[in-house]
Amino acid sequence: MRSRTGALTVAVVALFLGVLVVSQFRSREAFSRTLQQETPETLTTLIADLSDRNRQLRDEIFDLRSRLEQARSSIAGGRGALEESERELAHLQVFSARSAVSGPGIAVRIVGPFDERALSDLVNELRNAGAEAIAVNDRRVGPRTWFGPGPEGTLVIDGAQAQGPWIVRAIGAVEVLYVGLTRTGGIVGQFQLIYDRTRFDVTREPLLRLPALSSP
């Protein structure tokens, strides 16, 4: 009886592993198939993007190792890990949009018809360009922020109605953000073609002050 239960357990585990292996193989196969259809130019762009991301990860690993060492020696010296915890708290408050922040960045002024999908795309593009904090008019964009349509000339941001004109402000590396948006074929150029009655102005800002996220 016991051996039968054992055999059944082994069979179930083997089946589960088999399904996992096959699904993993299929997913890799689909991924490889997609890559096969890309041009060398596209593949080169992907390599540049992956290399850039890996560099960011390497930098963060290096930084975390050094912070870990500092925290260890601080604890060993009887000073606890308060300094490191406070530093991490400040980082996480920015990352989760829970505190008001200031810093250099860019501002995008949008005067004229605009919709929630375009606003969502603009925020996505700013994040892609490395924005550390974003706000639309006086509302901070958080990790779970959503955009919806509103009555004429308005949009809904996290459930609250907001009125245009729109000023989207983003803190981060100024030139990267600016070029990311205004490059030829970039999102602002596309917007100018699609929303031909709307004016888009992108400016570099030496100091921006963004509020904390107002919704939970």
Binding site: Q37, E60, L89, G103, T145, G148, R209
Partner: protein, 239 residues
């Protein structure tokens, strides 16, 4: 008469000459295409290998990063037991980590499948799904989702989704169809928002035209891993 015969002879030669010319041109075209193909293959194969190598390296870095974050968290937690002030700080850190998507999440919710139907012709380019993925994520937040992932990548405050060609990049990681978007939250609220005809109109129209495969199903238990990418805070300062 002699002239007519000479013309006939010339005409007889003209037809094979034209045919021969066509054959030579076609053959030349084939060789040229083969040469171009050789060049493409020569560069594409190493590029594929580089992408797969970089992706594997990224996976290893993410694992290292997750390990270091856990180590630092454990160290802070141990130190926090020493005083009330640090305990309070630790609690705030735990709350912020959860809000930022740095901890695993589990619960009931919705699983959305998004894919392209099989190509009709072998050289049909796959669809770029980036706008659809951002629309679906926006809908999930709108329906009150607590956590969302795209093919296992946790969507956080710094996440972006974009296309390079028809390949998707989420959190700096390359991904391709089929896509699975997981959303943890009230399944009824999530499903009601997804089923609302006013939402995701474009995607639903394409689904009805059978140019995209798109469906959402309730799930009693979903697990979404923590965000394992970098937390870049270099320019912004807390006020």
């Amino acid at each position: 008469m002699t002239d007519a015969r000479a013309f006939q002879k010339g005409f007889v030669l003209l037809v094979p000459a034209v045919l021969f010319g066509i054959l030579v041109a076609a053959q030349w075209g084939t060789f040229a295409a083969a040469d171009r193909r050789d060049v493409t293959i020569r560069y594409v194969e190493p590029l594929h290998a580089s992408i797969e190598g970089l992706q594997a390296q990224q996976d290893a870095f993410k694992e290292q990063l997750a390990g270091l974050r856990t180590e630092l968290d454990d160290l802070q937690r141990t130190a926090a037991t020493q005083s009330g002030a640090t305990q309070d700080l630790q609690q705030r850190l735990d709350d912020l980590r959860a809000l930022a998507g740095l901890t695993a999440a589990r619960g009931e919710g919705l699983v959305v499948q998004l894919d392209a139907p099989p190509p009709i012709a072998p050289l049909d380019r796959p669809t770029c799904f980036a706008p659809d993925l951002t629309d679906i994520t926006n809908m999930a937040w709108r329906a009150g989702a607590a956590a969302v992932s795209i093919n296992g990548e946790r969507v956080v405050g710094s996440s972006s989704v974009y296309c390079v060609g028809s390949t998707i990049v989420v959190n700096g990681t390359v991904a391709s169809a089929p896509f699975e978007i997981r959303a943890i939250g009230d399944p009824a609220a999530l499903l009601a928002t997804f089923d609302d005809p006013a939402q995701l109109r474009d995607l639903k129209r394409r689904r009805d035209e059978r140019s995209v495969i798109f469906h959402a199903t309730r799930a009693p238990l979903i697990e979404i891993g923590p965000y394992t990418g970098p937390i870049a805070v270099g320019s912004a300062r807390t006020e």
